[in-house]
């Protein structure tokens, strides 16, 4: 470990030398938008953007069963509300399930921390009803419940809703790639099916 502190001191010294005489740091202007026009229908916009990136959208608590489709074993965070566990599937709470266990699940059902209409982005921050990152990654089908009060228009409105130092995953549509001729194709390593259930109040 002896070389490491030396490298640190040397790099910091190089930085200071490079900046010798560089003057004051500029103060960034902040002229950009932080919200959408008032009156914008953010729910409609969110739906439009989700569908555009091949997510399925459902309405109301009762639609959770349909969103889960024919999934038989569904992993859920231990604190998932009881009244969300709808339909005929077996709901398996994540009490330190192994990777192999997770790989055997047909779907995962969670809540979220925020949703951004403009980009169709659902944000998870390991908070209530979300669980650890692995449970929303390994199963091939993610059903996520979004409450009306979690939807905002703009990214700048969503960031303050997150637990900044918690592990976060921002999700915009199912897993995809643009690596073949730069066309977006759905379905690589993450869940290939994303269903979003909107709870209207």
């Amino acid at each position: 470990m002896s070389a490491t502190p030396t490298a640190r001191e040397e790099i910091l010294a190089r930085m200071r030398r490079a900046l010798d005489g560089a003057g004051e740091a500029p103060v960034p202007p902040r002229e950009y938008r932080r919200s959408l026009e008032t009156g914008a229908d953010i729910t409609a916009m969110l739906i439009d953007r989700l569908v555009d990136y091949k997510a399925n959208v459902h309405h109301g608590l009762a639609s959770i069963a349909a969103a889960l489709g024919d999934a038989q074993r569904v992993v859920v965070p231990a604190d998932l509300p009881e009244d969300w566990r709808l339909g005929g599937a077996e709901f398996v709470p994540d009490t330190e399930l192994s990777t192999a266990d997770l790989d055997g699940m047909d779907a995962v059902l969670t809540g979220c921390a925020a949703a951004v209409a403009v980009s169709g982005t659902i944000m998870l921050d390991a908070g209530a009803a979300q669980g650890r990152r692995a449970i929303t990654l390994v199963p091939d089908h993610h059903v996520v419940v979004v409450r009306r009060d979690q939807i905002v228009g703009h990214l700048a409105e969503a960031l303050p809703m997150l637990d900044r130092t918690a592990p976060q995953t921002w999700i915009s549509g199912p897993s995809a790639t643009s690596d073949i001729e730069l066309q977006r194709v759905e379905g690589v390593h993450g869940p290939r099916r994303l269903d979003v259930v909107l709870l209207e109040d």
Partner: protein, 473 residues
Amino acid sequence: MSPEIVPAASLIPADAPFPKAAKVALGMPQLRKNLAHATGTIRAKRANVAGELDDWEPLRDTAAAIKADVQHRLPELAVEFERNATAAGAHVHWARDAQEANAIAARIVREAGADEVVKVKSMATQEIELNEHFEAVGLKAFETDLAELIVQLAEDRPSHILVPAIHYNRTEIRDIFDQRMSDAPKGLTDEPAALAEAARQHLRRRFLSAKVAVSGANFAVAETGSLVVVESEGNGRMCLTMPQTLISIVGIEKLLPSFSDLEVFMQLLPRSSTGERMNPYTSVWTGAREGDGPQDVHVILLDNGRTGVLADEVGRQALSCIRCSACLNVCPVYERTGGHAYGHVYPGPIGAILAPQLEPGRHDDLPYASSLCGACYEVCPVKINIPEVLVHLRQQGPHQAGERAAMGGAKAVMARPRLWRAALKAARLGSMPWRRKGFLRRLPWPGSKWTVSRDLPVPPKEDFRDWWKERQR
């Protein structure tokens, strides 16, 4: 039986000067066709989603200023990042150069009791040639990004900073999988969805059993000690979540002052790179979190020439780059030669200003691999004035070599006026919808009059445009 795979890198010598390498690339019609198709697609997508935002220009202004602020306060922000990441349970290391970074990474892998790692695509690890170093010391690095996987299987080199396999079309990718991927499904077609499925099956077990992952980071937030990785496929999430040990190699220029700065960069980056409103997955993590993801978390802060770039008042703006690749996609020279000809991991306009600065004395010909048309500056989400830096570097380089490069290189690329005009026009059209000021719509190329000289005056912005208009007549 599919045709034999001939990696482009085996034809285009990595260490040849640009003019020579470019000539080889120009003689590869399929490569040019693939590039034109892919860059054309992405230009249109980018222009669309950038055009959706009525505050695109203010966002660029802010991003440029935040990056300039970071550069001015780099020592303080690096130490702030280190303090906060360490407090959150990460081990922060510093590496002066590639060798030191590779050695630290290899040591961590061994200490974790592993001899292989899964990798998230990262320019920093390509720059330090981590895979090659690992191989030399008996460790294996598996690329998991689809394009990186293609390049690795083809034993080729990346040719684009975002889509390293951009020079292959779907049929060629199918052939590579068919011949080089041991578990490729029988009768694999060239449908992109089928190719993606084959990659999923190929990597799944490796993801679920990997002990160690290596990543880069798109952003490092000083205020919180967080790292951010932006991706599409979920291979990033797999690497960042499933293994016990995570090593992230992060160039010191990736720092951002505060978490809320992401509201600027996460609007600009996905729109500029893949032309999406948002990329499918963004991961943010801060040190180690009990019961969630890797518990043994390392960050290697990498210099490797960056402090040298920082010392150049004009050149340091190259450190603002967020590696979106928009400048490659609009560059008429890149579109015709591809990435290999540049002979550096950073090709295209950003490579032409970054490579010669990161490795002084090498790549002196790259600042001439440009016609100074300015399309790169116009699309750059952080407003790096690439033409300005190109001219600055030309004035510093050895003139003889520069002249030779200008005569032999740029000219060779642009020798066919009709093709050249088409390329330029496409580049300009792609960037039009969001353009504010009256920049030229079309730049018919006066091929016969092409001259570049070492003492081309540093043109003030408006004069530069007038100068072009003049040339147009």
